[in-house]
Symmetry: C2
Subunit: 210 residues, 2 copies
DNA sequence: GTAAAATACGCATGAATATGCGATATAAAA
DNA sequence: TTTTATATCGCATATTCATGCGTATTTTAC
C-alpha cells in the first residue's frame, strides 16, 4: 500500500486526485492540503511514501515546501505537479531533490504509474520535461574546452600555478631552474593568449584544463 | 508510420526487435546492422525517424555512432539501448545528444511506447536511468560553496581580479585609489586565506564565488 | 632528414604584487 | 556608547612577475 500526501490548492483537482488514488488498489491518500504552510509537521505526522506537490500555491508554495522537507527528510519521494513545463521551475525543483516532475494533464492511469515509479526509486517525468532536462544537461558539458596544445611539461607547470605555486616553488617541485619555469610560463601565456598568472589560472578553470 | 533503424550486434536480439517492431501497427523497421561502421551513409540512405542504438558493439560502437550522426544530423531521434545503467555511458550519451536511454530488458510494450515518445520529441528513459540523471544534475548545483563574508566592495574587486584586471585597472574601474585596491585585496586574502592573486582567483572558481 | 617543437638554462630590467604600519570617516552592531 | 566592520587613502619595501634576448640539447613531426 503506497501512502500518499497531496498538496494542491485547487479544490476540484485535490478532490479528483484523492478519489482517483483512493479508488485504486494499492494506493491510499493519507491527507490533502491546500498549501505547504505546515508541511513539516504534516509530513512528520503522516509519514507518507510519496508526496504529490503542486508548484503554484498561495501561501507556502511547492518549491518552498520541497526545500523545507529535504532539509530534514531525504526518504520521502516527492513528485512535483505543474501546469507548464516551465524551465526555471524544473531546474529549481530537480536541484532541490524532487524525485519526479509531471504535468497536471497527465492521464490518470499514467499518474498512478508515475506514483508507483517514484515509490520504487524511479524518476518519473513527463516526456516534455525529460527533454528539457536532457537539453540543460547536455548544455553543461558540450563545450568541452578548446585544446591549446600545451606540452606535458607546460601542463604540469600550469597545474602548479593553479594550485598557487610561485615560480620558485614550481622550480623546486619540478627540479628545474627558475629561468626554465619562466620560459615555460611564457610559452603557456602565448598559447592561452594571456599575460598574467591569474589570467592563466582563470582560463584554466573556465576551459576545464585542470 | 514510424520508420526505425536498428544497431545491435546480438543477432537474436536484433531479430527479436525487428519482429516486435514490424509486427506492430504504425511501426516499420527499415534495416538493422551489427555495428556503426557505416552509420553515416546508412542513416543518409534510409532516413529513419528513430534509431535504436546499442551501446556496446564490436567495431564502431553506439557512442561513436551517436557522435558521428550528431555531427551532421540533429533531426533523427536516437534511443540508446544498454544492458546496464552505467553512469559514465549515460552521461556520455546524453551529453552527445541522445534522445533517450533505455535498458534492454524493457518489456516490448514499453519499448514501443518509448519509440513513439522519442519520435514525438520526448525523452524516454528507464526510471533507473532517470534517477541517475537527476542525481548528477542536482550534484552540480547543490554545493554552492562556503560564504567567506566578503563585503560588496570586496566582491567587486574579486570579480575584477578574476577577469584579469591589474590593481591599476581595478582602481580606474572603481574610481578609487590604488592603495584602496590594495587594502581591499589584503582583506580578501585574509578572508579567503590565501596570499596571492592567482590563489584568490582559483579559490573564487573552486567555491563558485563568481 | 630537416624543420619545428619541446625542454632546459642565464641575465637584465621594469612593472606588478604582497605586506606592514599607519590614518580617517561612516555605518551598523553589541 | 563603545566596538566592529566597511571603505577610503598614503608610504615604504622586499618579493615576485612579465618580458626580451640570448644559447643549447633532445624529441617530434612532416
Amino acid at each position: 500500500m503506497i501512502k500518499v500526501l497531496i498538496y494542491e490548492d485547487n479544490p476540484q483537482l485535490r478532490e479528483g486526485l484523492t478519489m482517483l488514488i483512493n479508488g485504486s488498489d494499492g494506493f491510499e491518500v493519507l491527507a490533502s492540503f491546500k498549501n505547504c504552510n505546515n508541511v513539516l509537521s504534516e509530513v512528520d505526522a503522516y509519514r507518507p511514501d510519496v508526496i504529490l506537490m503542486d508548484i503554484d500555491m498561495p501561501g507556502t508554495n511547492g518549491l518552498e515546501g520541497l526545500k523545507q522537507i529535504r532539509l530534514v527528510n531525504n526518504e520521502v519521494k516527492i513528485l512535483m505537479l505543474t501546469v507548464f513545463d516551465d524551465n526555471k521551475n524544473v531546474f529549481e525543483a530537480i536541484s532541490n531533490g524532487a524525485n519526479g516532475y509531471v504535468l497536471k494533464k497527465t492521464p490518470p492511469a499514467k499518474l498512478l504509474e508515475y506514483i508507483q515509479e517514484a515509490q520504487s526509486g524511479g524518476a518519473p517525468m513527463t516526456s516534455s520535461i525529460a527533454t528539457q532536462v536532457l537539453k540543460m544537461f547536455s548544455s553543461f558539458h558540450s563545450e568541452k574546452g578548446e585544446d591549446y596544445h600545451l606540452s606535458e611539461r607546460e601542463k604540469q607547470v600550469l597545474s602548479l600555478l593553479v594550485n598557487g605555486y610561485s615560480y620558485k616553488m614550481i622550480a623546486a617541485e619540478m627540479f628545474i631552474a627558475i629561468d626554465t619555469v619562466r620560459s615555460h610560463i611564457k610559452k603557456i601565456y602565448e598559447k592561452l593568449q594571456v599575460n598574467s598568472k591569474s589570467e592563466a589560472v582563470a582560463k584554466a578553470f573556465k576551459d576545464k584544463l585542470v
